[in-house]
Symmetry: C2
Subunit: 85 residues, 2 copies
């Protein structure tokens, strides 16, 4: 699972705070990790409660398994990679 | 392929300009699309020429096939989704 968010600066810390309880921060507005369906449902519902859906955008890429994705980085590692990839 | 970038504001437009020749912009600092290996090699080499590797971070998630990933969006669609997902 990769979560990327493009939200109003007033709501970024709320989204980050929620995201951190489920995923690993890897870069500005990017989080990744492994979630169960139940956890993913809760994450989405908590995110919905803090964003403005007519102004903010949160994208989730659900990848079937870690073996289906390869991660490459150019430059410095800003966050700590999760074991998801 | 998903590309996310966290680069110095002076270099964002250069990275975006290069990225747009290969991928679709979907959200702030997030691009997606399908690339051949040759295209992906060229993209990385062009990105390396414009970023400062000790300050900027560009992450690439290569996903084996569109059927291995599902994309969900909460809030407004900021960019146009590619046919990659």
């Amino acid at each position: 699972m990769i979560m990327v968010y493009d939200v109003n600066v007033q709501r970024v810390s709320k989204v980050l705070h929620i995201g951190r309880r489920y995923l690993t921060w890897v870069q500005n507005s990017v989080m990744e990790g492994s979630l169960t369906n139940a956890q993913f449902k809760r994450l989405k519902s908590e995110i919905r409660q803090v964003i403005e859906e007519d102004e903010d955008s949160v994208l989730f890429y659900t990848i079937r398994s870690p073996k289906d994705v390869r991660r490459e980085e150019i430059g410095i590692a800003k966050g700590t990679p999760s074991n998801f990839v």
